[in-house]
């Protein structure tokens, strides 16, 4: 490996001191601030997950009280959704890479970017403050369904306000990215020459901007109801608790695509790089991102099939739900076709990307089962749903997140990790993950409801397998993190373009200088993934 010998100042060294970090307007530093914050919250949330698995190891009380258990799964859900997975890829890798892959030096509104970060911190503080102040963390589930969320004595108000503030942070990030993509592409880069990761972020950002306000106002209604003692969902004044569910899911279904689309964007970057060939069906992948974002608004009712919603509404929502699966499957098939006749280098990022496809397939296909009316009546609110969403969120987006971390690691830190250890950690993680969550799907079909502190004896053995899986997962993740932490401090120097990537971020130094580029980046000829040394073949 040759290391570029030219002297330059990277963005770490360009400015010094703690304030130069806390008040930085540089998108790369903000991205790193997000990274450290988000990983910390992930570990907190994960620890709560492990605690739940321990409690569920056998029926009856093991280590915690029912009330504590309820608060734990709520906090686990809130942390994982609002503090980990929604911001994860956009706020970290979007921030770091969007300007780089578009060939510019920052996002459109750097100050707003810093404001988003501090709103994120504020929201996180609100969410965690419930551990110390008031009557303990909320015990409602992350969905805050009325009227329980209004009745319970726990500190729901704080948790809900946290979600509200985090929503604002998310809106501002989305707004920033949309404007950046519209206005700051490098000269000559049209929308159809953009890397697919920016397409994915573009679609995601629109969801953030247009869906988040709806949950904002809904949560404010919950706060008002708690503060004034009466409110808009209170049956005693004619309110309808089901309306709350509608408003909640009008946001929260599109939100699952806020989680999924950036991950798909990452996969669309990794696969062509490691296959060393152009992406198959660029436009199909790009436009299906937009289609998912758009159709995703129309399916929220599939969370409410048994809520008392009317039959005709349920039928319409079911059919729309199936439609949203189609653009997703288009993506999967195009990724698969991209491997065809590639010259594949099997490296850690690619392994994560392929594991994404595998896990996401299980998650997505179980999603189809949930979308079917009759089947959903049986498995709704059971562990089948828990299995489904861990597969898509953790097995999908989580794996893509760690894949992105391994893929852009040399760019971000200028160093390389130990690939053997990384691959071992990956294998343990993948195996543990499936042992942890696959039993949940079976439990669900057998009829074990979710949010259960205690369960019937016939569910014991599968729960035990699942708990053992959680220990294996922990091992894998800890190994992975240690490997990366060691590498970031003492890893060997990485070249500017270790994977022979072709998108613009690989044209600058690793780590990049403060202004990102010290010469004009060159757009690859004939499309963003047109690897020059591959044999050309047009269909």
């Amino acid at each position: 490996m040759t290391v570029d010998a030219l002297p330059y100042t990277d963005f770490y060294k360009a400015k010094k001191g703690i304030w130069s970090w806390l008040f930085t307007l540089d998108h790369k530093r903000i991205a790193l601030l997000y990274l450290y914050a988000i990983i910390s919250f992930f570990l907190v949330g994960a620890t709560l997950g492990i605690l739940m698995r321990l409690e569920l190891f056998q029926p009856g009380k093991d280590i915690i009280e029912p009330q504590t258990y309820n608060q734990i799964f709520t906090l686990h859900g809130v942390i994982m959704i609002f503090l980990f997975i929604i911001p994860s890829i956009p706020a970290i890798f979007g921030n770091f890479l969007l300007p780089l892959i578009l060939g510019t030096d920052d996002v459109a509104f750097p100050k707003l970017n810093l404001l988003s970060f501090y709103l994120y911190v504020l929201g996180a503080l609100f969410a965690l403050s419930t551990l110390i102040f008031g009557d303990g963390p909320a015990d409602t589930g992350w969905t805050f369904y009325a009227p329980y969320s209004v009745k319970t004595g726990t500190n729901v108000t704080m948790s809900v306000l946290a979600a509200f503030i985090l929503g604002f942070s998310s809106i501002l990030t989305g707004l920033n990215f949309i404007v950046t993509i519209h206005r700051l592409r490098t000269p000559g880069m049209g929308f159809n020459q953009m890397p697919l990761f920016s397409w994915a972020l573009y679609a995601t950002s629109w969801i953030q901007v247009l869906a988040t306000p709806v949950i904002g106002i809904t949560l404010l209604m919950i706060v008002a109801e708690r503060v004034f003692g009466i409110g808009l969902f209170d049956p005693s004044i004619g309110g309808d608790p089901i309306l709350y569910q509608h408003l909640f899911w009008i946001y929260s279904h599109p939100a699952v695509y806020i989680m999924a689309l950036p991950a798909m964007g990452v996969v669309s970057e990794i696969i062509p790089t490691f296959a060393q060939r152009t992406i198959f069906g660029y436009k199909a992948i790009a436009y299906s991102s937009m289609a998912i974002a758009f159709i995703g608004y129309f399916v929220w009712g599939h969370h409410m099939f048994t809520s008392g919603m009317s039959g005709p509404a349920a039928i319409i929502f079911s059919i729309l739900t199936f439609l949203v699966a189609i653009p997703t499957s288009i993506k999967v098939f195009n990724w698969l076709a991209t491997l065809y006749k590639g010259s594949i280098v099997i490296d850690t990022p690619l392994l994560y990307a392929l594991a994404f496809i595998f896990n996401f397939l299980i998650g997505g296909l179980t999603g189809l089962l949930l979308g079917a009316l009759a089947a959903d009546v049986h498995v709704h609110d059971t562990y089948f749903v828990v299995g489904h969403f861990h597969y898509v969120m953790f097995g999908g987006t989580g794996f893509a997140f760690f894949g992105a971390l391994h893929y852009w690691f040399p760019k971000i830190w200028g160093r390389m990790y130990n690939k053997k250890v990384a691959n071992t950690a990956f294998a343990i993680f993948l195996i543990g993950f499936n042992i942890l969550y696959f039993p949940m799907l079976i439990l669900g079909i057998m009829g074990m409801p979710r949010r259960y502190y205690d369960y019937l004896p016939e569910f014991t053995s599968l729960n035990q397998i699942s708990t053992v899986g959680s220990w294996i997962t922990v091992t894998g993740i800890i190994l992975m993190l240690i490997n990366l932490i060691v590498a970031a401090r003492k890893g060997e120097k990485a070249p500017d373009n270790p994977w022979n990537g072709i998108t613009l971020e690989w044209q600058t130094k690793s780590p990049p200088p403060l202004e990102n580029f010290d010469k004009m980046p060159q757009i690859p000829e004939g499309g963003p993934y047109n690897f020059p040394n591959a044999y050309k073949h047009k269909h």
Binding site: N70, G153, Q276, I357, H378, Y535, K538
Partner: protein
């Protein structure tokens, strides 16, 4: 014979989709691994830039669309019959409240397990006294939320003799996972016998009967252990700290205090317990006094 009339439709759509899912999962994973091996750098040093193919795009848009419409179709046909109960269905009121199911029969009988005759359509009118619950009978493949302020119902036919679990599937607070009951499918003649048998409560304290009926005992024990609320054991004469309007005060529990607490649960909160959980009930003065009479006997 299936346990209920819905098992067939639900299971069909479930297994149909599962088999399509397994097919795609296995197929796609296999192709993926094959490509990894066949086109790895060693065996295929020069990649080919294939930009796409309209034919393929169309194929893999159309085939999933068709499959998905089939899935929708069977999901719908399995679901449709759940929407409307036959007119001759016998009606039973199912009441959900924090952590207890109660089933009220037209003749005034009430029971905490659901007893139904075999092969007869049963319609449950769902009533919630507090928050959302969901009545779920896994063996019958049926589930419906119980919403306060709304009159929803569900129906089914029990087709196989036996006892099946009833679970609460919508999170409803602390003891959500203990909100269990069961449905007992029995023969028609046994059912009639059961229905017309008066439960013998004559030698039971009227206060206890009332407390069972109002689910007090799902939160308060009689043996001194703490559940959701304080235990009733030795409660009269106990010194404890309560919170009124945010201020703590120490009191000695007496009849008046308990009377107040039952008639207006939000008037005070026992320190160390969660406020707002105890339900507001519509009880006559006599009934409350009966309960207090009984509570004072718990030693």
């Amino acid at each position: 014979m299936n346990a209920s009339n819905f098992v067939e439709g639900v299971d069909f759509s479930l297994y149909l989709i599962l088999s399509i899912a397994v097919f795609f999962l296995v197929g796609i994973t296999a192709v993926m691994i094959y490509f990894l091996i066949r086109y790895r750098k060693k065996r295929n040093p020069v990649a080919t830039n294939i930009e796409g193919s309209y034919t393929l795009e169309i194929i893999w848009t159309v085939i999933p669309t068709i499959l998905v419409l089939i899935m929708f179709w069977y999901g719908w046909t399995g679901y449709k019959p759940m929407l409307t109960a036959p007119n001759d269905a016998m009606e039973i009121e199912a009441v959900g409240q924090m952590w207890k199911w109660t089933f009220n029969y037209p003749n005034g009988k009430s029971s905490d397990t659901l007893v139904i005759p075999i092969d007869k359509a049963v319609k449950l009118n769902l009533v919630s006294k507090d928050v959302l619950h969901s009545l779920y009978i896994p063996a019958f493949r049926i589930k419906q939320d119980v919403v306060p302020g709304k009159d929803f119902s569900m129906w089914f036919i029990g087709q196989k003799l036996g006892r099946y679990d009833i679970l609460c599937a919508e999170y409803c607070g602390q003891l959500h996972s203990y909100m269990l009951s069961s449905v007992h499918v029995i023969e028609e003649n046994k059912y009639d016998e059961w229905l017309n048998k008066k439960e013998d409560t004559s030698n039971e304290h009227p206060g206890l009967t009332l407390m069972k009926k109002n689910a007090c005992l799902s939160c308060h024990t009689q043996d001194g252990t703490r559940l959701v609320g304080p235990s009733f054991k030795d409660i009269i004469g106990k010194t404890e700290t309560i919170i009124v309007d945010g201020k703590e005060q120490t009191i000695i529990v007496d009849r008046d205090y308990i009377f107040n607490k039952i008639s207006n649960p939000t008037s005070s909160t026992v320190k160390g317990y969660q406020s707002g959980l105890m339900p507001q009930l519509n009880l006559s003065e006599q009934e409350v006094n009966d309960m207090i009479d009984y509570i004072s006997t718990i030693k």
